[in-house]
């Protein structure tokens, strides 16, 4: 194959040129137009749905109403809190593990890959089925022991740690891939050995040498986790908590317009977060 790679572009034969130039443009235009229609119409229609109704005509009131709606702010804050805790925990767990595997225990690498791929095999609804069952069984078994209090603390209504634990498992594959891609671009061993030889302590190595080099990968992992946790519905609704996505469904029965407005808001939020990631990674390559 490589032998064929031309230095100068291969001239196309004359009769082929006009036909080839003309036809692809047409199908490309058709495909792009249909895609634009399919993807943009629901966005436009939803926005129209939120700002227009028969009774009041055009009005942005639903968006103002959203801020005052009961449960909006607490559920949004709970979602952000859960996301923050998930990000901190998942990074604290994965980063040291991945560095260790690279430096000291390469034989653990297949184990790590399996562990960080497994959650992909288990759909969230089945994971939460298992979690619900364990909490229930744990309640029966642990009732007479001091661990009972731990189990109750896990399920605290104000800040359910159990959700954070489940989310960490769910985002593990994405975080692993992001960090793995980041670690591939740097020579971890040389950097760590150089820093250690110069007398840096392990925490110093991690915070001042590894983390700055991994900025983009860490930010990518963090933002993706944030986006996934903010939109998460399955686990929270089945375990009976009310973060943002569950709240949207709760109000949909009584106030359809509000729930669509909240959906528009949540898409904008996701959009901003993911644009920040791709913007951040572009800055670095530029």
């Amino acid at each position: 194959m490589t032998a064929l790679t031309p230095v100068a572009p291969v001239p196309e034969t004359v009769p082929v040129t006009p036909r080839r130039r003309g036809r692809p443009r047409l199908w490309r235009a058709v495909v792009l137009a249909l895609a634009a229609l399919y993807f943009l119409v629901p966005l436009a229609a939803s926005f129209w749905y939120t700002v227009h109704n028969e009774a009041t005509g055009l009005s942005f009131a639903p968006y103002a109403e959203l801020w005052a709606a009961e449960g909006f702010l607490p559920s949004l804050l709970l979602s952000f809190g859960l996301a923050l805790a998930t990000i901190v925990l998942v990074l604290l767990l994965t980063l040291p593990a991945m560095i260790t595997v690279r430096l000291a225990a390469p034989r653990l690498r297949p184990v790590m890959e399996v562990i960080c791929t497994l959650p992909l095999v288990v759909p969230p609804i089945t994971l939460v089925a298992g979690v619900g069952k364990s909490l229930q069984a744990g309640g029966e078994v642990l009732a007479p022991t001091p661990f009972w209090a731990t189990l109750i603390a896990l399920q605290d209504q104000d800040f359910p740690l159990v959700l954070v634990f489940v989310y960490v498992i769910l985002v593990l594959p994405f975080v692993y891939r992001s960090l793995d891609a980041g670690l591939r671009t740097m020579d971890v061993r040389t950097l760590v050995e150089a820093a250690r030889n110069l007398g840096a302590s392990w925490p110093h190595v991690m915070l001042r040498v590894i983390v700055p080099n991994l900025r983009t990968a860490l930010a990518g992992a963090a933002f993706l986790t944030l986006a996934l946790v903010l939109g998460e519905y399955t686990v929270a609704s089945i375990l009976g908590y009310q973060p943002f996505a569950v709240w949207i469904v709760t109000i949909s029965g009584a106030k359809g317009q509000l729930s669509v407005a909240a959906s528009v808001l949540s898409l904008l939020l996701t959009w901003l977060l993911l644009l920040t990631i791709s913007g951040g990674s572009r800055d670095r390559s530029a």
């Binding site: 895609a35 992909l120 288990v122 898409l267």
Partner: protein
């Protein structure tokens, strides 16, 4: 032991937060009224549960096939376009929309094509059109097509112009180029995409649940939720766990096909 100290917290965490629920699920699935047995699993392969499982598989297969074909055409249109801005815009939008399943997606489509939706009013669609098999497939494609674009765009980028030129110089027509050169190179990526789309549609719960699809099109995820919350009858939790086990088996099969394919598809792209 000291060597793996840094990896220990993660291993312990996964063993607890993932291992315990997994064991609980399997144990529950095989427990019938307190004693071990296959009764729950047998129950999941009969009647309404089997229908739900079949619906889920059918819906996911339709979405996977349609989504991968449409996604590939869209990706090809973008990849071969000379406009950098278009490419960036579509790929970024795909990144957002592929992660945009769940509740908001359901409400977007309800506002658009639902019974009092904006577009269904304009088109004069009969009430309930969205809440059918094809309606749900239309909604699922909204995150499946972008996912396919993300999966297949790098593979399409990897088709070197030299291959097309070499084929053309040897007298191949465009059809022959696609049939004998491009498609064989793309096959692992395409199949991987189909399998990934199947898996994500199969696992989807939030969208169908928020749309209230359970009554018109029972899906396995909705059945699990109903069994867990005791909506149907109490004591059906273990049936929910058995259904979960069925799902995990299907998903495991999906990943067992996907991962090797993904590894193969990257081979040509280096």
């Amino acid at each position: 032991m000291r060597r793996i100290l840094g990896a220990l917290p993660l291993l312990v965490f996964v063993a607890l937060a993932f291992g315990i629920p997994a064991v609980a699920m399997v144990a529950g699935a095989f427990t019938v009224e307190g004693s071990p047995g296959f009764g729950n699993l047998a129950l999941t392969l009969r009647g309404g549960y089997l229908t739900a499982l079949g619906n889920s598989v059918k819906l996911s297969a339709v979405v996977a096939l349609l989504g991968s074909v449409l996604g590939t055409f869209l990706a090809q249109a973008v990849v071969t376009s000379r406009s950098r801005a278009l490419r960036e815009a579509v790929l970024t939008a795909s990144g957002v929309l592929a992660n945009f399943g769940g509740v908001p997606l359901a409400f977007f489509w309800v506002a658009t094509l639902g019974n009092s939706g904006v577009v269904s009013g304009l088109l004069g669609l009969p009430s309930g059109s969205l809440f059918t098999f094809w309606g749900l497939a239309l909604v699922y494609l909204y995150f499946s097509v972008p996912l396919m674009v993300l999966v297949i765009a790098p593979a399409l980028d990897g088709l070197r112009p030299q291959w097309r030129e070499a084929a053309a110089n040897n007298g191949a027509t465009a059809w022959q180029y696609w049939r004998y050169v491009a498609l064989p190179v793309l096959t692992p990526g395409l199949l991987g995409g189909v399998v990934l789309l199947f898996g994500s549609a199969f696992a989807a719960y939030a969208t169908a649940s928020a749309m209230g699809a359970g009554t018109v099109l029972p899906l396995v995820t909705l059945k699990i939720a109903a069994a867990l919350s005791g909506d149907v009858q109490t004591g059906f939790e273990n049936v929910g766990l058995a259904l979960s086990l069925d799902m995990v088996l299907v998903a495991a099969l999906v990943m067992a096909v996907y991962l090797p394919l993904q590894r193969r598809s990257t081979r040509w792209l280096q």
